[in-house]
């Protein structure tokens, strides 16, 4: 029996511009790498069941492009695209990341895999490149100074004032 790892992702915000996620999978590193980088796999898990993946193309080589489009239940189209900067199967990919809803929020998405005793740990880092991306995140999501500070700060406010009964 493998452990139930649902909900176990550790999400951290090491700087104002970075979001790091760590998650373990009970699978060999090669399979995890394929599931992350082959369209026939990505199209099966990337979107929630209520959404439909309408495009999933991945040209896995340095300079190659990927493009994933999904349509949500209410008809909203979400399009992610980017270009691979580093491809090192099965341990690492680095690619640019552009979500069309945030046209200025250029980011670099890196994925690192490491296998120990049949358990593969995936570390992803989404790093917004510059002020433009950061400003865009602010405009749409209020993340100007990074979630870590904000979340600590929210927690401190909510705990100290004990106002959970909003």
């Amino acid at each position: 029996m493998t452990p139930d790892r649902h909900g176990s992702a550790v999400i951290e915000f090491p700087s104002d511009l970075e979001i790091v996620t760590v998650r373990k999978f009970d699978a060999p590193i090669e399979l995890v790498f394929d599931v992350l980088t082959k369209p026939e796999h990505v199209s099966k898990w990337f979107a929630p069941f209520t959404d439909v993946v309408t495009e999933c193309s991945i040209d896995l080589r340095v300079g190659g492009k990927y493009h994933i489009v999904l349509v949500t239940e209410d008809g909203t189209e979400c399009s992610f695209r980017g270009t691979y900067l580093e491809v090192e199967p099965p341990i690492r990919t680095v690619a640019t990341w552009l979500f069309e809803g945030w046209p200025d929020a250029h980011a670099v998405d890196s994925v690192d895999l490491h296998e120990t005793d049949g358990v593969t740990t995936m570390t992803t880092k989404l790093a917004f490149r510059d002020q433009a991306g950061r400003d865009h995140m602010t405009k749409f999501d209020g993340q100007e100074d990074g979630f870590n500070k904000m979340e600590d700060y929210l927690r401190s406010l909510l705990e100290k004032k004990g106002s959970a009964s909003a």
């Binding site: 996620t21 399979l31 599931v35 992610f80 979500f99 809803g101 994925v111 989404l126 749409f140 909510l158």
Partner: protein, 117 residues
């Protein structure tokens, strides 16, 4: 790996209010309790007009409230107004976890743990 999470428009003002570093400092300064404008000015080495301007923005979105005591105006934190933001952060974390959980389930199916591979 990370997608957008819809946010209700009603919370946008709170998000914008809190996006400014000085306004967060003012909110921090009010954690211990109610304070007069002058006390906040002393605590934070910001000018009085600056503090007043930020307090006005914070009042408009309901993050602070104000009462008069004699000639002084005392400001206090209204942390309940932060709840929508707290919930939004939780939702973002949830969306990310859900995607990774789907990947986990899919990997299990591929490895023969189910009938849907």
């Amino acid at each position: 790996m990370i997608g957008p999470v819809a946010r209700s428009p009603a919370t946008a003002d709170v998000f914008n209010a809190i996006a400014e570093a000085h306004r967060r400092e003012i909110l921090d300064a009010l954690i211990p309790g109610e304070k007069a404008v002058g006390t906040i000015v002393n605590d934070l080495s910001m000018s009085q007009p600056q503090v007043s301007k930020h307090l006005r923005v914070l009042s408009e979105v309901g993050l602070v409230s104000c009462r008069a005591e004699g000639r002084r105006r005392l400001y206090r934190l209204e942390p309940a107004r932060l709840r929508p933001m707290h919930e939004w952060l939780g939702k973002h974390e949830q969306a990310l976890n859900d995607r990774l959980d789907r990947m986990d389930d899919y990997l299990k199916r591929l490895q023969g743990g189910g009938d849907d591979a």
